[in-house]
């Protein structure tokens, strides 16, 4: 039944629902408090899990005495790391030899490598009792000196984070494109700067949750979790548990936000599976916020040493950078963030000479993992910040310098030096439109007025780009032994015997509105109203189709998910028409599907969809001879990806959505506190299936990126303790801290996707980078420059004081 297909551009007549601002179907259960999240699951006999964690960043575990913990009333069992690992194989990683020997079980055995690393699993009759027992565990540690920065981890003689590999630099590569040395030699201007990309995290409001019930009778693990791509993680989980993957039954119900981090809770799935099997009862673990902050997955932290070469007239000639990535203690998805620069290394610009020297360094900190615009906004920051500094040095307006360097819409599709093929777009139109929407001249006037009042104020501009989804052949550049390539998604559409329409996709949405969008797509193809389509919620591996790439990550739904369901619906439609044609004795070409009926355009009558369904499922003798019964199609959509061009080039994403952002930043010189007074953005997501939802995604990225620029910072002390472990200290902004957003969009359909859509919603960093650029603009009158992605009031106040000599 299931076939693999590649689609080409869709030409649908009577498009109605796709493209409309259709309010979401899933809202009804959420606004009434009826959302079903993993922590809402109730199973008889449920036991509760708390995880004991290392207080030290680096230490040897000399012994764990669990006798007192076992005496706590209500305790069911206590499993040390050693006991858990006895039933596990290590989690796979992407690193080439010898660094593939970095052992990761998701729980420490004889050594802890970051503060917060799990060391034992405690099961009890209530969460309260489980935490009582965690407190009674006696662990004998021998503290070791930790490695806390990428730079110090590179030093000779640095303590080893993983003692079984030769250095902490677990992956290093220099990528060179064009003639970098030559352009830097002959350039009219070279600007160099060290930048810090600070550590922050998307911190979805719902922490990680895992519930596992081991069904001994069928030898099945039933796993409810908020993992955002269980089908993707299935292989790694099965391998670690030493079982066949088809013994894992995953359910991801409603997910309370993910942003990438919820790819990363699979080690907990494994720990709970072991515990459930050992005690013979279902177990549930609900992460606390503090645990989420210290031990889930942080965004990347980078020290850049960058330089950019320019010609006198403002053309970018080349970029050269060293990037030291602090990866944290384990390499779960890494070094993908460090490597992700390659997806759109040159952003929206035409320069061809590029050298990126990447160091991926393990440290005794929380592991780095996917976080909205993973590894992509970081490259944007490097390019846009250097470009801004160059413009200032050359005395060229920041708008003008961008216009001079943009890839033009006539050059599309455009192949960048790293082999990315930009899928269309009009960068200068996007920039001009945001300037127009914001009334740029008035904005500058407002900045000057603020300055005249003694405030510091700056206007900042930035482009952002997000390459999505992932062509997994890019892994071959990290590790030549990797055999993956491309990506795919599965969907099915079914019309049952009563004419009810259902659809399911393998993605696991986290607030993206897939039920609505799927309904819109199917409704158009089958000529019904979206309310007549039941799109299955969440993800259940027994009811939803999937492929090893399934899930919601890397902004892939509008490309892979939408295309798969679109094709499945088209195939069902084809069959409906064929059966109707047979019944009406009419040619398929003369039939149309609209308002729930198949109608002959030549006046040969009509058949209700319901009647076609009855024929297809029940009245089989009345079907055409060669027609299989049923109205059901299961499609695996293959995103059209190729292998890498060579060892450092390839098209590793299909679409390249982009945005242009302008920010007016006001800084109180007396306190160093910044506030975004106005912010506008124009994004091109290609064709928008649901502009209401796309706009919501843009708002969301704005909240995250302004939050990251102004409020959110993960800070460790000199012993490797995270000092921002709760929402008291990790400053996720409130509504009062953020402005309203002036959003707009342009639509240049993607050249390569069936629906002309682009992956969007991650943001590519434009708002954050625009804030950093605005800060430089604000500090310009004082003659100082800013060097971090985090606008720290403390640092800014210091700069103001040093500049004014006060």
């Amino acid at each position: 039944m299931t076939e693999s297909v590649t689609l080409h551009r869709e030409e649908t007549k009577n498009v109605k629902w796709v493209g409309s601002r259709y309010p979401r179907k899933e809202d009804l259960r959420f606004v009434t408090g009826n959302g079903m999240y993993a922590s809402d699951i109730r199973i008889p006999g449920l036991a509760h899990v708390a995880i004991a964690r290392s207080p030290y960043a680096s230490a040897k575990i000399k012994g764990i005495d669990k006798s007192k913990a076992l005496e706590v009333p209500g305790v069911v069992a206590v499993f040390t790391g050693e006991e858990i690992v006895a039933e596990l194989d290590p989690l796979p990683n992407l690193l080439p030899s010898p660094y593939d020997k970095v052992k990761d079980y998701g729980i420490a055995v004889d050594r802890v490598r970051y503060a917060g690393e799990p060391i034992a699993v405690v099961v009890a009759e209530s969460n309260y009792a489980a935490w009582d027992a965690v407190e009674q565990l006696e662990v004998d540690y021998e503290p070791l000196s930790p490695v806390l920065t990428a730079k110090s981890g590179c030093e000779k003689g640095a303590p080893l984070v993983h003692e079984n590999v030769p250095t902490n630099v677990v992956w290093q590569r220099k990528f060179t494109y064009g003639d970098v040395d030559e352009v830097f030699k002959t350039a009219d201007l070279v600007v160099s700067k060290k930048f810090k990309w600070h550590r922050f995290t998307s911190a979805p409001l719902e922490p990680n949750v895992v519930v596992v019930d081991y069904d001994k009778r069928h030898v099945i693990f039933n796993i409810w979790s908020n993992n955002q791509r269980p089908a993707f993680n299935q292989a790694a989980i099965a391998k670690a548990l030493r079982i066949d993957a088809n013994r894992l039954h995953f359910i991801s119900p409603d997910i309370g936000g993910g942003f990438g981090i919820k790819n990363e809770n699979y080690p907990y799935i494994i720990l709970l599976a072991v515990a459930a099997r050992r005690i013979g009862r279902p177990v549930r673990w609900i992460e606390t916020r503090t645990e989420h902050m210290v031990a889930s997955a942080h965004g990347s932290e980078i020290n850049y040493e960058g330089e950019m070469a320019f010609s006198r007239d403002g053309k970018i000639l080349g970029l050269r950078a060293k990037a030291y990535h602090d990866e944290g203690a384990y390499m779960r998805r890494e070094p993908i963030a460090a490597f992700n620069f390659i997806r759109h290394a040159t952003l929206t610009y035409t320069f061809r000479n590029l050298e990126m020297d990447i160091y991926a360094v393990v440290t005794n900190k929380c592991p780095v993992g996917p976080n909205r615009s993973y590894g992509k906004m970081q490259q944007g920051f490097l390019v846009e910040r250097l470009l801004e500094l160059g413009a200032k040095k050359l005395g060229i307006d920041p708008i003008e310098i961008r216009l001079r360097n943009f890839v033009s819409s006539e050059q599309m599709p455009y192949e960048t030096p790293t082999g990315a093929i930009l899928d269309g777009g009009d960068y200068s139109r996007a920039l001009k439109k945001v300037l127009e929407n914001m009334d740029y001249a008035a904005l500058v006037k407002e900045r000057d007025r603020l300055r005249s009042e003694g405030k510091l104020a700056g206007v900042g501009i930035s482009m952002g780009m997000d390459a999505c989804p992932i062509n997994f052949s890019s892994n071959r550049l990290i590790n030549p032994k990797s055999t993956a390539s491309g990506e795919s998604e599965a969907a099915w559409v079914k019309i049952d015997e009563d004419g009810n329409i259902s659809a399911a996709v393998g993605t696991s949405p986290q607030g993206h509105g897939h039920e609505t969008v799927v309904s819109q797509i199917v409704a158009d193809v089958l000529g019904v109203h979206p309310e007549q389509v039941y799109a299955l919620p969440g993800f259940d591996s027994w009811t939803h189709p999937s492929t090893p790439h399934s899930g919601t990550y890397a902004s892939r739904f509008a490309i892979a998910g939408a295309s798969a369901v679109n094709e499945a619906a088209r195939r069902v439609r084809g069959k409906v028409l064929r059966i109707a044609a047979f019944a009406l004795k009419e040619d398929v070409e003369n039939l149309e599907l609209a308002d729930g009926s198949v109608v002959s355009t030549k006046g040969k009558g009509k058949v209700p969809l319901k009647e076609v369904a009855r024929l297809a499922w029940r009245d089989l003798a009345n079907l055409p001879e060669d027609e299989e019964p049923g109205l059901y199609s299961n499609v695996i959509y293959k995103t059209p990806f190729k292998l890498p061009i060579d060892s450092q080039r390839g098209n590793f994403s299909l679409t390249y959505s982009y945005s242009a952002c302008v920010v007016l930043l006001e800084i109180d010189p007396g306190t160093g506190v910044s506030r975004v007074k106005r912010v506008g953005i124009v994004e091109d997501a290609g064709n928008q299936i649901n502009p209401l939802i796309v706009e919501g995604q843009v708002h969301g990225q704005m909240g995250h990126q302004l939050g990251a620029a102004l409020y959110e910072d993960l800070v460790y002390d000199e012993a490797g303790q995270l000092l921002t472990a709760t929402f008291k200290d990790y400053l996720a902004p409130t509504a009062s801290d953020l402005p309203s957003y002036e959003t707009g969009s342009i639509v240049v359909p993607s050249l390569f996707t069936p629906l002309g859509t682009r992956g969007t919603g991650e943001g590519g960093g434009a708002p954050l980078i625009a804030c950093a650029n605005a800060m430089d603009d604000a500090l310009l009158p004082l003659g100082v420059e800013y060097d971090s992605s985090y606008l720290s009031p403390i640092k800014i106040r210091e700069l103001v004081k040093s500049a004014s000599g006060k």
């Binding site: 964690r53 290392s54 207080p55 030290y56 960043a57 503060a115 965690v134 407190e135 006696e138 540690y141 503290p143 503090t290 210290v294 800070v715 002390d717 012993a719 303790q721 995270l722 000092l723 921002t724 472990a725 709760t726 008291k728 200290d729």
Partner: protein
Amino acid sequence: MDIEGSFVLQGSPERVYGYLVDPGFIGDHLADVENVEVIDNDNFNVRAKVGIGFMKGKVDFKFHFDEKVAPKSGKLVGNGTGLGSKVDVTILFTLADGGESTTIGWKSHASLSGKIASIAGGALQSVVKKNTQRFIESIKQGIDAELSAAGAAAGRS
């Protein structure tokens, strides 16, 4: 966190040293102590309430003397567990003979690990600093009192 300082006591290094490496004496002068259990000359356990104001919790410390070089130096190492956290302290004393008096130099290194280090943005680090200072002041006064009591007793005899 590292802090250091020095103070002067009227008495010979030999006499001062005796107090500095006496588990019972030291245990009694640690801040907010609830209970001291002396195991031998080098080892003692202490249960203390650590914190500020009403925000206090029990921490169980294991202390031992490391590197005793009479009457020149001594190192006290303590590892505490409590409040879901670890408190590790090291205090090194060095004694300099000043004839009638002894100058006691001290260097302490303290670290908080786990929950209490992570909560309140590192603000609780200041507690450790305060407690160290209180401890030093307390042993200073304690030894001083003992020395003058002994001196007075000696004077009486």
